[in-house]
Symmetry: C2
């Protein structure tokens, strides 16, 4: 080892080079802090694509019933949960790997497959920040090709950025924040065009909200696509965002090595109990799907009536921008709309961090929340 | 990039080289499976150093009260929990980083500080498997120097394996599985002898059980040791093993970068609520410390009376081996003792995976569990 690689005295100079340019952490305000700052009686959060109906009553009961087991380590490998997920999806158990949120699965895929300084990971720009952040943390090059102007996927450009060192290609469908959902045939075509050593990872965090899933997901036919993996999560439809439970359906050989390298207890015991209960609660899921479909339609219609441009969405959120101020309304930027809603107790998501400064994203809430959001947006845009 | 680094067709040949020799995952039997296999009415687990009193009643109440919030993402950065931990310990908040168990903190320390293929990580052999496993997963060399024959720490040999590329030195105290706990003065001396670029990470997962902590921990004096970090956990004394909550008290600049790189939601909302409640429950902790001290003394005394060699321990477990068969008893190996106890419904920990085939480890249980374990061990060793 040559002398110039010797470690300097302990200081930020000791950090791995790729770590040094990670942005400082900025904590968002909590609901309580917003309530206090603006003197509000209540605050409505429509910013994180959480379940509009909250936590399923069956799940809450399961959590309480298992609270006394918090002192026990989980059974490593989470065999009961894996079997239940596999049965629910109709896939082989040996394909399923659960993680502390999909975040852990994304990270582990990169760590297991991509060689630092040699391989690369590709995605669209913008896309879920974890793909790029975890690649950088791994010392793996991250390449992102811009979406089309209408937020559809430019497949040719996507494939063009891949090469013999592309380990992973991440595609999110329905896409976040746009809501765009390509037909499954396009994903099939993509899988056929990627280099031989590249795994196509289709992140279907929001697929549960799509009406015709067979037309948009490859999950039911993975046996025919040996280079495709699908990610899903309990955070949205299943209402378990805070408990952290995501999973991948992977080629068997890869699932095997993911289990070999995943820390044995990363999925907590209450996430496991809650996940099992959530799989049983078909009523809650049906109610959620119905509430999201109705709420989405209501919000899209009302926002368009207020002169906003709203992207089509099959998910539990809408991306929109205030374009024209109708009926004598004043022009309002996305940033101002976000801030004025915040002052009035409704949190939506500004998209500056996605490079989309003109746009905002609103999660579908419950009926009361949706109505309040529209009423306040009308006030702000039309005085 | 030369042609021979091109990725092969998707197959196990695509795995990073350091991943390929990870052992296949073998799920341990659950308590239910053991009960069924041996036709037992009850099974007692004294294998994982869990809290002998279970989960605190205050914690259980907090979990139930927060069950309805499972659908919400945690506030990223866990600011309330970090403040509460810092206050409890009397350290600056800016030094505290919480993780999905200490496992996540260990992993992140390696990822942030150690350059793959350049730096190394040092520890003792045997030591907590995560130090070595996560180093390997990161492509970082792991060096482990054997403990002394009496399981004390050979400091000279430990320091001798460090060099200008040593990024991290892990020391566990009280040590697991031996229970050995060096005086704080020895850790001070170690900190002064390590190379300038090396962080000494003192893993104090079991320090809460030590009677005179000031004499064994540097936690209260970290300001004087800029190259020392301390890890602690809610898994043992606080009874939250299954919820996953550990933390590091680190140099501030390092804590800052750990937060920059830690996924924002890795600590789940119920772990946060439970951790806050556990910090409040001094009564439960006092009871646990008392139960562990009394149980440890009882077990050590009884095992010695049965002709076992028992290592001194300040922790919530004991390492021992059946040496002489007294009073006409038959010689029994550690393996046989483990298996016969299992058949009778008591799970202890064989130490073959630590390279200590003659030894076993028993966690201190509650009074009933301790008595049952001793009664069965007497039967097995003395017919």
């Amino acid at each position: 080892m040559s002398i110039d690689t010797a470690r300097p005295a302990l200081s930020p100079a000791c950090l791995k080079p790729e770590v040094r340019d990670f942005s400082p952490y900025v904590a968002g305000m909590s609901i309580d802090e917003i309530r206090e700052r603006y003197g509000l009686a209540q605050v409505v959060k429509m910013a994180s694509n959480e379940n509009p109906l909250g936590t399923s009553p069956l799940v809450q009961r399961a959590i309480c019933e298992h609270a006394g087991l918090a002192f026990r380590y989980a059974q490593s490998g989470n065999p009961r949960l894996v079997r239940a997920i596999a049965e629910h999806l109709g896939v082989e158990s040996a394909r399923v790997v659960v993680g502390n949120g999909s975040d852990e699965i994304i990270d582990l895929l990169i760590r297991v497959l991509a060689r630092p300084g040699v391989d690369n990971v590709i995605a669209f720009k913008p896309s879920f920040s974890m793909y790029g952040l975890q690649s950088r943390l791994c010392g793996v090059e991250f390449r992102a090709t811009p979406l089309n102007a209408d937020f559809t996927f430019p497949w040719d450009a996507f494939v063009a950025q891949a090469d013999a060192h592309t380990a992973l290609a991440f595609v999110t469908t329905p896409d976040n924040p746009s809501g765009f959902t390509p037909p499954a045939a396009e994903l099939e075509a993509l899988a056929a065009r990627l280099p031989q050593g590249c795994l196509l990872v289709v992140d279907e965090a929001y697929m549960d909200f799509v009406a015709d899933q067979a037309a948009h997901s490859l999950l039911g036919r993975l046996a025919s696509f040996p280079n495709v993996a699908v990610l899903r999560t309990f955070s949205k439809l299943y209402g378990l965002a805070g408990l952290r439970l995501g999973y991948g359906v992977l080629p068997e050989w890869l699932a095997d090595y993911m289990w070999r390298t995943r820390p044995p207890f990363s999925v907590n015991v209450l996430a496991e109990a809650a996940g099992l209960a959530a799989l049983e609660d078909q009523v809650f899921r049906d109610e959620t799907v119905r509430a999201v479909a109705e709420g989405r339609q209501y919000l899209a219609h009302a926002l368009r009536n207020l002169g906003c441009e709203v992207l089509p969405s099959q998910s539990n959120f809408l991306m929109f921008r205030p374009v024209a101020a109708l009926d004598g309304g004043v022009p309002v930027s996305a940033r101002v709309l976000f801030e004025r809603l915040l002052e009035r107790g409704v949190i939506i998501r500004p998209l500056k961090s996605y490079g989309l400064e003109e746009w905002v994203r609103v999660s579908v809430g419950n009926e009361r929340e949706n109505a309040l959001f529209i009423e306040l947006t009308r006030e702000i845009l039309h005085g």
